[in-house]
Symmetry: C2
Subunit: 355 residues, 2 copies
DNA sequence: ATTAAAATCGGGTACGTACCCGCAATATAC
DNA sequence: GTATATTGCGGGTACGTACCCGATTTTAAT
């Protein structure tokens, strides 16, 4: 079989420009040592031939290896949400490893701001070429990314964003629209009467996310003139007992709650509560494809789960770094993930497919 | 920066086995000319070092180029559904082109069985190494794929499947479950009364798909003891006038239709009809992320669209061929796509993201 | 034992790019 | 003018694997 005859490489460029391959290489990589005249001549030929470097050969010959750092929460017993992004990181890792790219993953504790800081400092010491991070702690993330900017290390946010921080990209959900959709799903077959309960279960972190989601949620109701009374429950402890105690209080005060929206993945706690109290007829919508949540989806306690492709977020973030650092390509700065709707009927197909 | 010191290549294997690189190469590629003894020795070292060939170097050195054929319907004025798979093919194409893989795309006319046969024959004449096809015409597809099997050309089905045909893989929806979900969405907030209309608009092709979807649809209603009367409308012409004429008849006979399920992407015709007749309060669910359908989703005539990631189907199918032919890897034989639910609220994020 | 054939193997080049080393030409200093 | 930087450029090797071309050894045939 023959090679593609329409492909021209540096050799052909050098031949046409009457220079050596080395000179062409210098022009391509913007290195010094070429006169303006020949540089111009070579650039014209490059443009004329629409030269596309052969990445295989390029990466094979290059000895410049690239190190990427990943900074995400550790997978905890409380929730295995972060196992999905970790999987995405690993998928990208195996894919780009032959290109001379190494990955080091740093985990922090979602209940401990200091662990974030510690790990972030380790990254800075290490001297990496690019960073993928989940900015779970706003202040610490800002400090860290400012330092990255100073050191000219590109970084990508996943899961939630800090705008104005000059990240290379944000890859994650549009939280406002996600809450907006949540309201639609929750009220889609609801009657005119009855209250709505919005539950936020978290240890005071990720508040910013929560606010955007609730804003979108309320916005939907307002735009559609749905004047349900909205009760709020802020639960700062994530263990089941605290959740149950809190909800019991809410229910004694409000008997006619017809629908519950949980703003994050801890919806399974609420589902367990409803099952224990035999209140399964209440509509329940929450977030994320976790084992526990799927169970309650299958028993019918949870009506809908909303999900933002956590695996793909991380995978794409890695590829964004790869394309920037290795290929020098421009990337989309804001990449909103699809807002997926998971029900009992389609949940079995919402997994990571192997090739 | 230094190279990964944990990586060992053929050179190291050759050194340890006291043979030349060429001999190691012969063992790796199962070529003849190596005594059993040295072959065994080399294989042991390969296993011991967990040797992973460097694909970059491998594909760079290899002159064996691989040709993939794609056989899908032409994008027509009637519907641009197939532009999504085409896009997926092209995305995969640019990604694997540097690996020495060429793609030739053949289009057939969904209204003309013969065009399928003609294009299929062109592929066989051409002598390609792998085929991606949509088996829109069952009989012709069987004939073609049998011939592929005889010639030992692997092939992958997308969009719909022909089981028992020994394809390398099927990548597409689980149609039964898709119809099942359709019934859930259609009846989710429906009252106890009123009839359901199931509409199939197509020129008698793809019947097999339709049947599976309808089966799933009815199955949901049955399992949930929803005893609505179901009307059926089979419309064999795809132009709007034919659809409108047909639906008018159905509506004169049945005044109390409360919900309509369209089994394919032509749901926009039904939506137009409902808008013209001022019957927008009827629930409407159908298939596929087409411009026309999204318009009606946004006006509220269509309530839900179901979608099976057509772009990714084609992309994955290409990668399956790549992994099989280039990497010699085993692949998953049946890859069901997620069954995505598109509403007015999340539709804007359901597009193909650029890196 | 001699010769032919077959089996087994090594040397070496190529793939397209990166990049080191060093030579020539030109510019600058005195 | 000569001596010294500086600039511009080419030769050549390396990356890890594929594969051609032959050389050597072993086996089979006579």
């Amino acid at each position: 079989m023959e090679k593609d005859p329409t492909y021209f490489g540096v050799k052909e460029i050098a031949r046409r420009a009457n220079v050596s391959i080395a000179t062409v290489d210098r022009v391509i990589h913007n290195r010094t040592g070429v006169s303006e005249k020949t540089k111009k001549r070579i650039n014209e030929i490059i443009k004329e031939l629409d030269y596309q470097p052969n990445i295989l050969a390029s990466r094979l010959a290059s000895k410049n290896i690239i190190i990427l750092a990943v900074l995400i929460p550790r997978v905890s017993e409380e929730t295995d949400f972060w196992s999905a992004p970790l999987h995405g990181v690993q998928r990208a890792e195996t894919e780009i490893k032959p290109y001379g790219i190494q990955t080091i993953t740093f985990f922090f504790d979602l209940n401990d701001e200091n662990s974030f800081e510690t790990q972030a400092n380790l990254i800075l010491e290490k001297g990496v070429n690019g960073v993928l991070l989940s900015p779970s702690f706003i202040a610490q993330s800002i400090r860290f990314t400012e330092e990255c900017r100073r050191l000219k290390i590109p970084f990508v946010f996943i899961d939630s964003n800090i705008p104005q921080q000059h990240s290379l990209a944000y890859i994650g959900p549009h939280l406002f629209k996600s809450g907006y959709l949540g309201a639609k799903l929750l009220t889609y077959r609801k009657g005119e009467e009855g209250k709505i309960l919005v539950v936020n279960i978290s240890k005071e972190i990720e508040n910013y996310n929560y606010l955007q989601i609730e804003e979108g949620f309320r916005s939907y109701l307002k735009e559609n003139h749905l004047n349900f009374e909205i009760i709020r429950a802020d639960i700062n402890e994530t263990d089941y007992l605290s959740v149950a105690r809190n909800l019991t209080q809410v229910f004694t005060k409000n008997e006619d709650i017809e629908a519950i929206f949980v703003t994050n993945s801890r919806v399974f706690s609420v589902a367990t509560f409803l099952e224990n109290k035999h209140k399964k007829e209440i509509a329940l919508v929450g977030y994320d494809f976790l084992k526990e949540n799927i169970q309650h989806l299958n028993t019918g306690t949870i009506d809908f789960l909303i999900c933002h492709k956590p695996e793909e977020q991380a995978y794409r973030a890695m590829m964004v770094l790869y394309h920037t650092l290795v290929r020098g390509q421009q990337v989309e700065k804001t990449q909103y993930m699809p807002i997926d709707i998971i029900t009992r009927e389609n949940q079995e197909f919402y997994q990571i497919l192997p090739i």
